[in-house]
Amino acid sequence: MTSQQGSLGEFEHLVLLALARRGDDAFGVDICDEIRTTAGRDASVPAVYVTLTRLEAKGLVESHQEEGETERGRRARKRFRLVRAGVEALEHSRAELDRMWSGVVLRPQRGRS
């Protein structure tokens, strides 16, 4: 991951992880479901879609448009896939968090409620 791309945002992190957990191409709705069932967080499809678009612009995921099934009235959807740069970004982010967590003892600090 280049320095220009910076660290992953929290929601970007979640979306990338959801995509990684699917292990295959996924639609926006699938990502939402994954986040809801695994993280217990209610994410909207537009929010996930915007995040995926941003990640695609950063080169961390790629997408391809499916053919619409016009006879059944279905529109063309976009499938998203994690690419190598996305995997590296996740690894980098995980390593960063691991380093931050190491040696941390959680306790309330003095003077704070």
Partner: protein, 357 residues
């Protein structure tokens, strides 16, 4: 029951989402709607769909959709506008009294400013004081597309110079120049006039005489007072216009306010005799000038127009429909000054009314 997403919400979504994401997001939500309907029923699916569309209206998401991952072409205006509107509405809801007060203050302030400007305008704005204001015409040129302009390039100017003679028109062109007098320098409008100008506008200098040739200038009353302190010793002094020396030979009368409010007037070089005695104001080499032409008393506009149109294809004299309005337009600088004075007074008055903290 219908298996399709609610039409109204879908219609709204279609208008909220930029075209590059529209179809795929609508398809995504349609698939989600279908899954929800299978899982939890029609009613829950409709509710889910509504929440998704509302989520797409959230400023951060709308911003992302419009940016589309790129920051190159869209400044995110719809999102920030919606954010501003929401913020305003929240403020209104929380502090209705303050909002009502602010609206009243703004209304009174705007009304007061308009009233003060009206008073200033009626007291200070004066029409162009020329002998025959109806004889003032603006020289305009029309391009091939029919657009009208009031500035001319040097090519047009050269052509026009040969087409109007001084028996028909007194002419004035305004250019911007640096006027130096001693240590002080002023950037302002300088009027280049032809020999007929002062006779046509019937302006007799309040002090000294009219410029009779190149290298001589007549000061405006305001320039005379601000830069020379109103001293009679101004006449005879040398000033520099864009580094070229000129001798002050007179001062214009106080109520002489021709179009453009120049700092001073200078005679342009007399044209060569080969140009059949024509004395138009334009000088070759000027990149752009704006002209006001005053027809001599008794000169018909049509005759002058024929003169200009006969030799200049792109230019024609056009009468000013409303002489008074034209005077106002040409005195835009003075009007802006009046407006600023009015606003400054308003600020002073509003400050005076502010109670001590």
């Amino acid at each position: 029951m219908s298996g399709h997403p609610p039409g109204g919400w879908q219609w709204l979504l279609r208008r909220l989402v930029p075209h590059q994401h529209r179809e795929s997001l609508i398809a995504e939500l349609a698939a989600g709607y279908e899954a929800e309907r299978t899982r939890r029923g029609e009613r829950a699916a409709r509710s889910w769909y509504r929440r998704q569309v509302l989520a797409a209206m959230r400023p951060d998401i709308a911003h992302g959709l419009w940016l589309g991952g790129s920051t190159k072409w869209w400044p995110g205006a719809p999102a920030s506008l919606s954010m501003d509107v929401r913020h305003t509405l929240r403020r209104w809801r929380r502090r209705p009294g303050f909002v009502a007060g602010a609206i009243v203050v703004l209304a009174v302030g705007a009304g007061g400013a308009a009233a003060v400007q009206g008073i200033f305008a009626s007291l200070l704005r004066s029409p162009v004081r020329l002998a025959d204001v109806e004889q003032v015409v603006i020289l305009t040129a029309s391009d091939s597309a029919g657009a009208t302009r009031t500035t001319f390039g040097s090519a047009d100017a050269r052509a026009l110079r040969t087409s109007l003679d001084s028996r028909t028109a007194g002419t004035q062109a305004l250019t911007w120049a640096t006027v130096r007098q001693g240590e002080s320098a002023l950037w302002g409008r300088v009027a280049d006039v032809n020999a007929a100008w002062f006779d046509v506008v019937r302006a007799v200098p309040a002090m000294g005489r009219q410029p009779r040739g190149p290298g001589e200038v007549l000061l405006s009353d305001s320039h005379f007072r601000t830069q020379f302190g109103g001293s009679a010793e101004a006449v005879g002094q040398t000033i520099h216009i864009d580094r070229a020396p000129y001798v002050v030979v007179g001062v214009a009368p106080r109520d002489f306010q021709p179009p453009g409010s120049p700092l001073l007037w200078r005679r342009i070089d007399e044209p060569a005799a080969a140009e059949e005695g024509t004395e138009f104001l334009f000088r070759a080499g000027d990149s752009s000038v704006r002209a006001a032409v005053v027809l001599a008393a008794g000169s018909a506009l049509a005759a002058a127009d024929r003169q200009a149109g006969g030799s200049v294809r792109t230019a024609a004299l056009r009468p000013v429909a409303e002489p008074t309005a034209a005077a106002g337009e040409l005195n835009s600088l003075a009007r802006a000054r009046q407006l600023m004075t009015g606003l400054a007074l308003m600020l002073l008055l509003s400050g005076a009314r502010t109670p001590p903290i």
